[in-house]
Each structure stands twice: as C-alpha cells, then as structure tokens.
Symmetry: C2
Subunit: 298 residues, 2 copies
C-alpha cells in the first residue's frame, strides 16, 4: 500500500467520525442552548481523531462493520474531548489554546466548561449503550465496562491525578511510564480493543496481539507528544507549545534528552509493529497508523 | 404499616447502600491514593440516600432482587455525588460545606475535586455495566441508556446549566419547574425507573404509574429543599443555609412565598400518592418515602 492510500483512508475516517460526532451531539438550538453549543464547540471541527483511527484500523483486523466502529469512535473521542476540556481548566493545566482555538472555559466560562465536560462524558456512555455494537448484548455490556475502566480512576482520570502529583517533582523513567500508561495509554488501548470487539472474531490471541500493540502505541504517542512540545511552536501545535517545561512537568525529553527520546520512539514503533506481525495483512492500516503517529503530519 | 417499620426499612437500605458504595469504590491505598481517598470522602459517610431509597422502594413493586437494586442504588448515588462535588466548586456554587463536612475542593484541592467527580461519574456507568441487573443483557443496556439520558445535557447536567443561566434573573414558575425537572427531577425519576426495571415485570402501565410518581416526587423534593433552605440553619442542614437567597437564586419560596410553597408541597405529595394508587400495597414503601420527603427527618 502506498502512503497516499493511507492518507485517503485516514481522511475518510476523520470525516466520517466528524459526521458521526455531529450527529450524536445535541443540536445547539436545544435547551440549554449555551451548554449544547459549548459541547459542539469542544468536540467538533478539530483534532487528529487518533483514537477513532485506531478503533477503525483495529476493526479492519476483525472485519467489524463500519457503523459499529463509528459508535465506538464517537465514544472514545467524546471521552478524550471531555478530558481535554477539564484538563485545560484553570485548576488543572490552565491553558487558553486547544486545536488552534480558545479553550472552552475561555470561549464560554468555567462553569460551562465544567458542565460541558461532564455531559460529554455522559454522552460517551449513552452512545455505547444505545448503538448496536454486537449481536450479543452481553458483549456490549463488557465493552462499556472496558471503556469505563480505561477512563476512570485507575485509567485516564487516575493518570491525570498522577500527573498533577508529579508537577515540580523529579520522577524516574518507570514512574513517568506508569503515569502515561494511565493518562493517555489506557484510552488508546481501549480504542484499539473496542474497535476489534466490534468484529465477529473474539479470538483471545488476536485481542492479545492488539492489546500489546495498543500499549506500545500509547507510549509512543506520548513520547512523540513530548518531543513535539519541546521542539515546535504554538502555531504548528495548535496548542500552547513548551508548556511542559514551563510547568516544570517531567517529560521523556526532560528525563532522557532529545536524542534518547527519539531513539525511544523508534524502539516503541518497532515493538508496536512486532506485536502486529501475527495478524498479517489485516493489520496493515494499524501499522501505517503507528508510523504516521511518529511522523505526526495529520 | 407503622412509621417505625418504615424507619427500620429506611435505615437498613441506607446501611446496605453505604456498604455497597464502599465495596464498589477503589480502596484509598490504591494508586493514585489521593484521588481514591477524595472519591471515598465525597461518596461515603453521609447523605440521605434518597435516590437509593427510591430505587429500592420501586424495586419492591416489581419484586426485584436486592443485589440488583444495590447496583442501581450505587449508580444513582454515584451520579448524585459527582454532581454535588462539581456543583460545590468555586466556578459553580462555590460552597464550603456539604453533609456537615468541608466540600471536596476545600478538603483536597480544586483539581482533585474535578477529577474525583469525573471518576465517580465513570464509576457509575462501570457499576451498571458490570453488575448483573437483568436476565436479558439488552434490558441492561437500555438501563444504562436511561441513566445516561437522565444525567446528561438534557437531564441533570442540563438542569445545572439552566440554573446557572437563571442566577440573578427573574424567571417564571413554569421556567423554574423546567429547571428542576432537569436538575433534580431527571435523576430521581431514573432512580425509580431503574429500581423497577431490576424486577421481572416490565408492564408498561406499572412503569407509567411509577414514572408519574417519580416526576411528582422530584418536584416535591425540590420544593421541600427550597423551604428548608429558607427556614433552617446551617447546622441542621449540614450545608450552608440561606444560600439560595444569598446567591439571588429563584426558588419556590422566592416565587410563591412560604405559605404557597408549603401548599404546593402538599399538593405534589397528594399527586404522587395518587399516581401510586393503581399499584396497590406493593407501592406502600414508595408512599411512605414520599411522605417522609415532606417531613425530611432522615
């Protein structure tokens, strides 16, 4: 497959995810209008949709129907979007720019940002509960449990708490890894697994290979994020650049230096691709996506 | 049934709900410790557990197994608890006292309060997805959808947004009713319906009677809350008294005056009891609970 094949696939998934998100969010004319407007502002019109892409690419491995993947893609992108809104608030990272636009609490106000994040999280679970994802509803219940565990206090939200506690402290590389396995890794792994579980095959070894891939890609994503934050300008990132250093946050770059951080990214990519090997050609989009994450030209 | 029968039942449900919540919340020794500690602080050791009581009492109408009702009771109490944490934050009501204790952001910090609320909401959906609630998993999916709709932007979170927009404005009685039907009513109705749906009977007319009851009780609860806020002191309430007037919030007392607000409560109670009539003796705990809400001596 050529890179332009991949590019076309990626843009098609990004487009259909945007459409699916627009359809599942309440219209901004519905009461309470300001809240619904803020929810749409936060979720639509931006973002690389990495989690949606991972879900769709993993679904190709198990021949999952695209409509099911749209629902899963919405759910993981909604969880991600809600976490960004709350993470940007003054009591957390206090950031004013996200995806090239003012953050939700700047564009609206803090209370609206708080409620919009809350309601977007709720909507993620509504979408998973109300969309047909599996011929067996029991499997669908398990998928909801999987997303909840990935998003909750022992997953993403827990990772943000670990992150908060680490600001201004010197932490070790293994501690940094634990933080990121929670903060970004859990939802990325869930995106891969939920996509795969939309398919008919629930072969344990397939899910194991995919989970190993998801774990490596989650860390890879974070290492690349740290590298980009250290070397890019705000205009390119679409969010405030250099804020990790400014906030005295430990990153792979601050712990390893830029050269070793880049080596680490290369190694994680190799590990991620290794994990896909048993899956053969069905996993080629996942492989391309992992390579794309390293290049980050979305 | 005598009142002391009711009192014993109520205390037994409060106790088993407390135990069920303690079991479903992660231990405070689990990483991230501070987040888990804050979650337990927010949820445990207080509260009247009105929503749990409604779920259990509605479950008696449909002969629902108590273990299923425990799971539903946990889920609705977790949603309620998360909403209180966020509602008390400085950008919302900015309150320092809840259930006789410092609010979560005062006891911990704002970021921890934000994340604890987020993770408690997630846990509510995890509990509903992972506890056996119905022999047919498809019904369980519908129950998760029902809770999400009640909690989200067109339910509870939406009601809080309407509430925010109303501060300092003069609104009409119908507008106040719309706000409360969202803000407190939606979750109270969901508590009744979820409890009932844990039972084997899914008779549409039973659910309709229960929903009519839930709608009246939700408003009743709010009217009584407004009366208590206007006439009680902080020590009795366990939360800051008189804050509605202080924040210039429209209430049933400010719109109707105390006498008419009390009449309204009496009328809503009568309507709620009327709605239960077709259900016969099986609904007696629900009737007692409605009367108890008016007396508010939990």
């Amino acid at each position: 497959m050529t890179e332009s094949d991949y590019g076309a696939w990626m843009r098609a998934i990004q487009l259909r995810t945007e459409q699916a998100l627009a359809n599942c969010l309440p219209e901004s004319g519905i009461v309470p209008e300001r809240l619904h407007e803020a929810m749409r502002y936060a979720v639509l019109g931006g973002g690389k949709r990495v989690r949606a892409l991972l879900a769709h690419a993993a679904g190709l491995v198990t021949a999952a129907p695209a409509e099911r993947l749209d629902a899963v893609a919405c759910a993981v992108e909604l969880i991600h979007a809600y976490s960004l809104i709350h993470d940007d608030m003054p009591c957390m990272d206090d950031d004013v720019l996200r995806r090239g636009k003012p953050t939700v609490h700047v564009q609206y106000d803090e209370a609206t940002a708080l409620l919009a994040g809350d309601a977007i999280q709720t909507l993620a679970f509504q979408v998973l509960a109300e969309s047909p994802l599996d011929a067996a509803p029991a499997n669908q219940l398990a998928m909801i449990g999987l997303l909840a565990r990935a998003a909750g206090s022992r997953g993403m939200a827990g990772g943000q708490a670990i992150d908060l506690a680490a600001v201004g402290k010197s932490i070790s590389l293994p501690e940094l890894e634990v933080m990121h396995l929670h903060k970004t890794g859990a939802l990325i792994r869930a995106s891969v697994l939920l996509g795969a579980r939309c398919g008919s095959a629930h072969d344990a070894s397939v899910l194991e290979s995919l989970d190993a891939f998801g774990k490596k890609v989650g860390l890879l994503f974070q290492v690349v994020d740290d590298i980009l934050d250290a070397q890019s300008d705000t205009a390119t990132l679409g969010k405030t650049a250099g804020k990790d250093a400014e906030h005295n946050k430990p990153t792979y770059v601050s712990l390893l230096g830029m050269t070793d951080a880049r080596d680490m990214a290369e190694n994680l990519l190799a590990d991620a691709l290794d994990a896909l090997r048993p899956l053969g050609a069905a996993a080629s989009r996942l492989a391309e996506l992992a390579e794309f994450i390293v290049q980050r030209r979305f």
